[in-house]
């Protein structure tokens, strides 16, 4: 294979590959490590962790839908202290590049989480998940409110700004995504993660009630891919200097390249790992081969190329 610079950067963090896990779709890496070395992918984005341990929502927590699925987990997790004590050392031992995803119920909780992460060595970036749809109060989806999302990011920036890249994860379920994106970037986000799941529902026709225990869930998988590609494209067009971690239904190298062309500097693989534990490796290999086949010498040259008038490729 001809040499290709496959590396990418998000803020001031460098990654040898642009293919990452997606938050909430890889736990803290241990489970996928049985199928491939975590060091061999771009990075592990850990499941969004909150300040305290949380048991999450009632079952059923999932429903398969055409080319996708709904999930309704509700941020089950061990809490930040246990996460730092147990999961971070494991990931460091695996020589994984770590992006820690944090989620809070209040603006202060995000700042607390960032403060606890500040002294932890071995982290490449922090993803601030302000867009989890599976919270009891939709008012808590900070990313649906421009002012609330800015205040969350501002609080995190005051704590770790300049030390660790801050990636704000946004929801597609908004009227004006660009204004939300611009707001969090103004507040100090170094990069954006697009998109979180799309709020959905399935009715169980046996019970004639919502199928999920939590009634609504987040739709993921190839069904949402065009929405995600559109979101990445629009945001990159408006904010071309801001790196984007693109995700939403990527299950092949071709899918990943769509996101790169739309403006993503890196991609996350989520639901595809549920169906195929080695999806990350396959997608990474296919993306690399496609870039070479299309004559790119570096991944960076391909980022956002769908916006350029006459690209040779």
């Amino acid at each position: 294979m001809t040499s290709l610079d496959f590396s990418t950067t998000l803020g001031n963090s460098w990654f040898p590959s642009p293919v990452f896990t997606a938050s909430g779709c890889a736990s803290s890496g241990r489970e996928l490590a049985q199928f491939f070395a975590l060091h061999d992918i771009g990075g592990v984005v850990t499941k969004s962790v909150m300040n305290k341990a949380r048991t999450g929502r009632q079952t059923p927590r999932m429903a398969e839908t055409p080319s996708g699925m709904l999930n309704s987990i509700g941020l089950q997790g061990p809490g930040i202290d246990a996460f730092i004590a147990v999961d971070i050392p494991y990931l460091i031992e695996q020589r994984a590049r770590i992006i820690v995803s944090i989620a809070g119920e209040t603006i202060e909780e995000y700042s607390t989480l960032a403060r606890k992460l500040r002294g932890v060595a071995g982290i490449s970036a922090v993803e601030v998940n302000i867009s989890c749809p599976n919270v009891e109060n939709r008012g808590l989806v900070f990313a649906c409110d421009s002012d609330a999302s800015k205040r969350v990011i501002d609080g995190v920036r005051r704590t770790i700004g300049g030390e660790l890249p801050i990636i704000a994860k946004l929801s597609p379920d908004v009227t004006d995504l660009i204004s939300i994106a611009r707001g969090v970037v103004d507040a100090g986000a170094d990069a954006l993660a697009l998109i979180n799941t799309v709020l959905g529902m399935v009715i169980n026709l046996e019970t004639m009630r919502p199928h999920l225990g939590g009634k609504t869930g987040g739709l993921s998988g190839p069904a949402i891919r065009p929405i995600a590609v559109r979101a990445v494209y629009q945001v990159h067009e408006a904010l071309p200097a801001v790196p984007i971690l693109g995700m939403g239904g990527i299950s092949s190298g071709r899918d990943a390249l769509e996101f790169i062309a739309a403006g993503a500097s890196a991609v996350s693989i989520g639901t595809a790992s549920f169906g195929n534990p080695t999806a990350l490796l396959t997608i990474q290999r296919e993306l690399r081969e496609l870039l070479v086949a299309k004559g790119f010498v570096s991944l960076r040259d391909a980022v956002g190329c769908a916006h350029r008038d006459q690209d040779a490729h």
Binding site: G24, S27, E31, G56, R61, A63, E64, F274
Partner: protein, 278 residues
């Protein structure tokens, strides 16, 4: 925490045989040496629908039995109820078809170190893995009795050769079309007393497992239950298949039935909290 699913591998496996047995389909799949690592209680996650499928998730099936033969090497047997789109697709595959499988997954039934009296209770095709378990228990010198239940006779899975591995087999159907009319749980209290049962192994619908546990909780009988909860990945990353389980301190957490199960200590599962917010 140790390694997870240490024996699991993702392979392309050949479907060797696909036969209808009553309302179920018996699939024999060549998994080579991985068959040596499969224990009763373990399950397999199979990709369904082919490459252009709109079904993005694997389907999980209990492994009912494994065997090593000179002709095929290691194989596993699955008993599948073709209820949903995914299981129907699988049951329609012809002999020779290549299947993308991840195996073996999950916990296995604990096997007693001493020969004790074991009662195996299965609901519907949940009986399938119990026949493989019965063979292992027999080899350990255990006395093995089996109770099978279903709504109707055609949903009872009880192959002839499986019956040889058990000392007795009682069948209950809710409509009385096979065996006795009633539910498996009707017979358990007397069997525990008459046979001096030390351990109950159960596999079937959650309400049946909960009803069995209501009986065993009043006795010293150990209850090993193979739980059932909707699963997206089968390998521990999606967090959908959780069941409320207490630890030794009494603290309850939502454990994944794919990693900490499917076989769980029935006494620790919080049956009244299944499907609820903790």
């Amino acid at each position: 925490m140790g390694k997870i699913n240490t024996n699991a591998a993702q392979i392309n496996a050949t479907l060797i045989s696909n036969k209808r047995i009553g309302q179920y389909q018996q699939l024999i799949i060549n998994i080579g040496d991985l068959a040596n690592d499969c224990k009763p209680g373990n399950f397999v996650a199979i990709s369904v629908g082919g490459e252009s499928s709109r079904m993005v998730l694997r389907r999980a099936f209990a492994i009912s039995r494994t065997s090593m033969s000179a002709t095929f090497g290691g194989t596993m047997e699955l008993i599948v109820a073709p209820h949903g789109q995914g299981s129907r697709w699988l049951c329609e595959q012809g002999e020779g078809a290549l299947l993308d499988v991840v195996v073996p997954l999950g916990t296995a039934f604990g096997i007693p170190t001493e020969p004790v009296e074991a009662l195996l209770v299965g609901g519907g095709y949940g009986s399938a893995p119990l026949f493989g378990l019965a063979e292992v228990l027999k080899a350990r010198g255990c006395r093995v009795d089996m109770l099978l239940g279903a709504s109707t006779g055609s949903k009872i899975y009880a192959p002839m050769e499986g019956k040889r591995a058990v000392n007795s087999l009682r069948i209950y159907t809710e409509d009385g079309s096979m065996g006795q009319m009633g539910r498996v749980t009707d017979a358990i209290p007397n069997l525990i007393a008459d046979l001096d049962v030390a351990v109950i192994y159960s596999c079937g619908p959650m309400p049946m497992l909960a009803a069995i546990n209501a009986i065993t909780s009043k006795s010293d009988v150990v209850h090993q239950a193979a739980v059932e909860e909707a699963m997206a990945c089968g390998i521990g990353i999606c967090m959908t298949c959780v069941v409320p389980v207490a630890d030794s301190t009494g603290a309850i957490s939502m454990l994944r039935s794919c990693i900490d199960g499917p076989v769980m200590d029935g006494a620790l599962v919080q049956w009244d909290k299944v499907g609820r917010v903790l």
